[in-house]
Subunit: 746 residues, 2 copies
């Protein structure tokens, strides 16, 4: 079991609780070792929590004449210069007690970083130096967690990390500790406050932990005769145990041995609670894998291909990384970079994720569900304004909300139909009763594009694996589908591939065709000509920016790359930072006007229960602003109009030269390679990429195949360094695959 | 301006700040009166915050030789017996200072409820009685807020409510104060903590307020030389001002006059911040109304019918009530009962809303966006399990997630098509290349039903206002549409209305037909026969439970009322408590099996980016459990299988007798009346109900029309008392309408 101990603002020391837990664990039969880790200590060396735990647990072992002997150590790893002056050594060991033949227990106490002044760590760093970056500190902690644990049963090794100050006290870098330790998401014990006012402080500290995605397994507090535990249990609806310790003697000379004796049973319960919570957690994670295949029905998934052991158990995400539970590897969590950007929707950095979480709590508490038609509330209007000033700038003036890209497309089509009728009244007389029957609307769309799964959206895509009779017997394919020229890189050079035939038309611009077994870049010039020609002919143009919108291609709107604007456009996916479903269809005022009438029946009679829901609009407003805030997004170019190059040009070049690579595409946050296949194993049903992707998961990269195409997709905040690491690993795995395939071909 | 002053756990008294604000406000030119309200005081009378404010402000007026004179009063409204023993009187008044001709200011201090012992209010009540219910306390506060304010400019009257203890300290009833005062959602000033550990306590308190939907306008703390304000500003990203007061003298005999002098400029800034925030808030609410009609595109709304002044500005919701901002009525907020249940999705009580808010923060922080296909995470599995044990019990074994009712229906259709093909292989040979062309799938559906706005879902509804050429030119209407027998109440008696023709079929069961201009109850027996006949003929049956699911009709699933089960069913709306979009399509294992194959192309190739998103599944799991928890839902019958009668039978009867009522329907949480019309003004486009609904808004009821049908829809937790009030008001307004129409007809 691994736990972190946190405190509300309280006079009850976390360290007392740590010592109590440690001695209770080490006194019991099974556990063989206990690691106590104090990553950050100020007021050192006069205050040293690890020394306190070390001494008290040894004393208790002696006092209680334990049958096991105890080998305890205390180690100080890194000390500021000011603190170092007062320190004599950095390691101490004691062996105490024990009856012959009963074996040995180990207590390993460590202070990782220490400063002299008894102030908040960030202030101590400011005043006496010795700063440590968040990542460095986390690496130090992680090293301790697994040190000497090899070969031991997980339930027999305990680690306890004690934080400094309150839950939201700053760490050495200034990052709040609740944010700092979040990547580990270790279950928590919360030391609450038994004093007057302590109910409030304890509840608030608990909520701060929950707002970071932590699980709290128990609350412990000191009895001050105010029955604070009752109020806390009521707040927690008995979902957590609240333990009460006897009052702590105020006399500083008291060695607390009697208090520990009095508290013995409470600590024994606490230990038991922690142990059960640990087992239940592991069991739950195991069960998830076992049950998932039995009751879930995954989208776009042939269940026969997913045996139980291949199901990925995701415990949590922090920024770009999933924490994946690996049952086969001793129940550890591994971090995997989400390289498919969660079906192309993932946006936030770790800190934006936490901000969004707080905003989601706020929006739900403030608004719950609010009706939208004929009403207005702040998030809906703010979101609409940001869209019109951003992706819709210069052309759009109306915002229609729906739930996903597919519905946004259906709405767009309905708008386009009406606009066409209006603009072409001369040729379409709808007052004629028979006119309806004789008009057949068709869209002009690009072959290979994909605009959603609902029937209306599907009708706007060319026949494909997704539209066949077995999938969608109602599909007709109501379009003229154009095969566009595409761009790709091959052996370090950009090429253009011309289609066999070229025709003209009006609808559905994707800068990248995706979905149909690949990701290809369509010639922007071709698209621009198409758009302008349609608009000249009074054919309304829809941009499907569900995938391309919000920096996916390195600019806020792909329209910027085409140098032309649509009449209608659809957005979803990155719109909310990937946190919550929401979609919008933007339109020009001219489109909107064609629905104005003195009859309700001419209004756009389309809507969803959650239209412009407050949480979605709140998330969208925050995300849209964050993506283009140069203080928050280090990837922005100085003028703030585009993302810098994220994928290292040299590495990209090198990959494009590899004989296993047929062609390659890179733009904005997207990098994709098409693998050479031997003929039949190409397209959406291809399985050739699967083995490479399995290997990449071992490298900590979670990617998904699109037939014989492998793509890596990062977020608007992803660092070029991280992306280079992805490319290096990918190159390595492709090369490995190529070599083993070539050799087996011999 | 009205504010509430809250505190993190801190030694800095909120009352000091209150006194500072009060004197700063009263010293300035414009404001004429200041109300200080202390709703809950313990340790009384030796502690009396209102007396402190009263005395200090008077003293400061004298000391500063203010030109205005001050008439100050202190009033104690309700005192526990134990406290009463020590009190001499409950009212005191002082008049101080002033130069002739400069006029008078008023300071009105009030303690509303006081207890003797200096403990948390809920403990004081336990120990010395004098309990006060939340609603009673809120009424007392509300009365004070508006007392003596008539005719005054809003910006010149100030009210400040000072809470007791910390943000989450219990009030007299045990309800946490942050929850207790939530219906008012008054902007907050937070007193933070400048001591060691104070950063954490202040941040946590701030987050507790945000998690209740409060807006904080400023943080104030005492300088302890630790620069806590810097860390707080960094956390707040400078979105809020953090003000620092000089250290408060610890000497209890100090009258603090010098400290107030030193703090003068800080309080002046704070007052200015509070004033600006107030004006900005009012301006923002005004702007919302002004801008909404310009840039939003509302669903199902003819914009020409919604002039600016008819736009409803919703500031927030708490449980079943919207807080609506009324600009025309002196910028007040009024509460309106959400009687359309927010397009039939609203579920939570006020306390469930806050729980859901915390869960939403947690889920976003823990998961952000996670990939679903081939993966599993706790909320997705828990939600699926609860569905299969609940609405899917006894028949369903697979859960497919999507975003809304419309997509859930499209998924259901795809499932049904495949199942039909599989079950009828003998008649459908799809290996035959030409078979596809010759098979034309049609659904059997009920006339007047509505299953969503996307094309596939629309194809399953009979021709209607929504499917016409102007709305959806691609609509064909791929069904056999049956006109079912319906049930309704008329003049106190239930009747059955038989359709002109009766035919047989297989698909889309709504217990209530909604959408098409009305809400009628369809004969359950008819539906059961239809279902059984279809299943006998191997025609898969889909239940559209998007509207009816989760207690809408008084039972968890409407299938319980039909006494038969489907092969596939769709759920959305109340699924998540109305907090966040999510939909599911449940299916039997037999349906699922028809997608198993060794080819990916035979899998169900349908999915949305947000499939089974963690926040949605978390909200659904919590809501499903809450609805049927008898400890939480007082409307459940003792066996927990149904809701008790919510609508008073006698009142319903009376309404059905009214000559303006054509017929009436009542079931579960739904009550609907069809108004008598004079022929032409019926159906979806009818406007007859509009004037009645406008009147109901003045009564605090937010309802929406469905043509000539008025419906009231409450949530699973709504109290029968509240619902009776709705019925009484409705009856009154219908009667009023009837009389004015009859007389105008004379």
């Amino acid at each position: 079991p691994i736990y972190t101990i946190w405190a509300a603002n309280t006079n009850l020391g976390k360290t007392l609780i740590s010592a109590g837990i440690a001695s209770s664990v080490l006194e019991s039969q099974n556990p063989s070792q206990f690691h106590y880790i104090k990553p950050v200590q100020t007021g050192f060396p006069s205050d040293s929590d690890s020394l306190f735990v070390f001494n008290r647990v040894c004393d208790l072992f002696l006092r209680r004449r334990a049958e096991f002997s105890l080998v305890a150590s205390n180690h100080v790893v890194k000390v500021s210069d000011a603190a170092a002056k007062e320190v004599n050594g950095d390691y101490e060991e004691r062996k105490v007690g024990g009856v012959m033949g009963f074996g040995e227990k180990r207590l390993i106490c460590r202070t990782l970083c220490a400063w002299n002044e008894a102030v908040s760590p960030h202030l101590a760093v400011e005043r006496e130096g010795g700063g440590v970056e968040d990542e460095e500190l986390l690496e130090m902690v992680e090293k301790c967690l697994w040190m000497g644990v090899e070969g031991e049963e997980k339930s027999e090794c305990w680690s306890l990390i004690e934080t400094a100050g309150g839950v939201a006290s700053p760490g050495p870098s200034g990052t709040l500790q609740c944010d700092l330790y979040r990547p580990f998401r270790i279950p928590a014990v919360l030391v609450g406050d038994g004093r007057l006012g302590g109910i409030s402080g304890t509840i608030s500290a608990y909520e701060t932990l929950k707002l970071r995605g932590y699980d709290v397994v128990a609350v412990v507090l000191e009895n001050h005769g105010l029955a604070n535990d009752g109020s806390l249990l009521s707040y927690l609806q008995n979902s957590l145990p609240v333990l009460v310790l006897p009052p702590v003697p105020q006399d500083l000379s008291d060695d607390l041995m009697e208090w520990f004796d009095e508290s013995h049973d409470v600590f024994a319960s606490l230990k038991q609670i922690m142990l059960s919570a640990f087992s239940e957690r592991v069991k739950r994670l195991h069960d998830l894998q076992k049950k998932a295949g039995d009751i879930l029905w995954w989208p776009f998934t042939q269940h026969q291909f997913v045996p139980k052991e291949k199901v990925t158990v995701i415990d949590s995400r922090c920024g770009e990384n999933f924490a994946v539970h690996k049952a086969d590897n001793g129940d550890v969590m591994t971090q995997q970079f989400d390289a498919c950007a969660s079906w192309w929707t993932q946006g936030p950095s770790a800190s934006l994720q936490i901000e969004l979480a707080r905003d989601m709590g706020y929006a739900a508490a403030r608004y719950g569900h609010v009706m939208f038609p004929e009403n207005v509330y702040e998030p809906a209007l703010e979101c609409a304004e940001l869209l019109l000033e951003g992706v819709g700038k210069g052309w759009a003036s109306r915002t229609f909300f729906s739930d996903n890209g597919s519905t946004a497309t259906e709405v767009a089509l309905k708008m386009a139909f009406r606009k066409f009728l209006h603009d072409n009244e001369a040729i379409v007389d709808i007052s004629d009763q028979n006119a309806e029957k004789s008009i057949e609307f068709r869209v002009l769309a690009l072959k290979g594009s994909y605009h959603g799964d609902t029937l209306g959206a599907m009708e706007a895509q060319a026949p494909s694996s997704f539209t066949g009779f077995l999938q969608q017997p109602w599909y007709i394919g109501r379009g003229l589908f154009v095969d566009p020229p595409t761009l790709y890189m091959q052996c370090g050079k950009w090429n253009i591939q011309l289609p066999d035939e070229l025709s003209e038309g009006h609808q559905q611009e994707d800068l990248i065709i995706h979905g149909a077994g690949g990701m290809y870049m369509i010639d922007p010039l071709f698209q621009r000509i198409l758009v302008r020609e349609c608009q000249r002919r009074k054919i309304p143009v829809i941009f499907d920016e569900v995938f391309t919108g919000f920096w996916r291609l390195g600019v806020e709107s792909a329209a910027e790359l085409l140098h032309c604007t649509p009449d209608i456009a659809c957005y979803a996916k990155l719109l909310t930072g990937g946190i919550i479903p929401l979609a919008v269809t933007l339109a020009t005022e001219a489109v909107f006007d064609t629905f104005m009438s003195d009859s309700k029946l001419k209004a756009l009679l389309h809507g969803h229960s959650y239209s412009a829901h407050a949480m979605g609009c709140t998330a969208a407003a925050k995300s849209i602003k964050n993506y283009k805030d140069e203080k928050k997004n280090p990837n922005l170019t100085p003028d703030g109009r585009a993302l810098k190059e994220i994928w290292d040009a040299e590495l990209v070049n090198k990959i494009s030269m590899h004989p296993q690579i047929k062609r390659l595409m890179v733009l904005g946050t997207v990098f994709a390679v098409e693998l050479q296949t031997n003929g039949s194993n190409a397209g959406y049903a291809s399985t050739i990429a699967t083995s490479i992707l399995q290997k990449l998961r071992e490298d900590g990269i979670y990617a998904r195949p699109l037939g014989n195409v492998i793509y890596l997709m990062c977020g608007p905040y992803s660092s070029p360094t991280t992306c280079s690491q992805l490319l290096v690993k990918l190159y390595h795995r492709i090369d490995e695959f190529h070599k083993s395939n070539s050799s087996s071909g011999l």
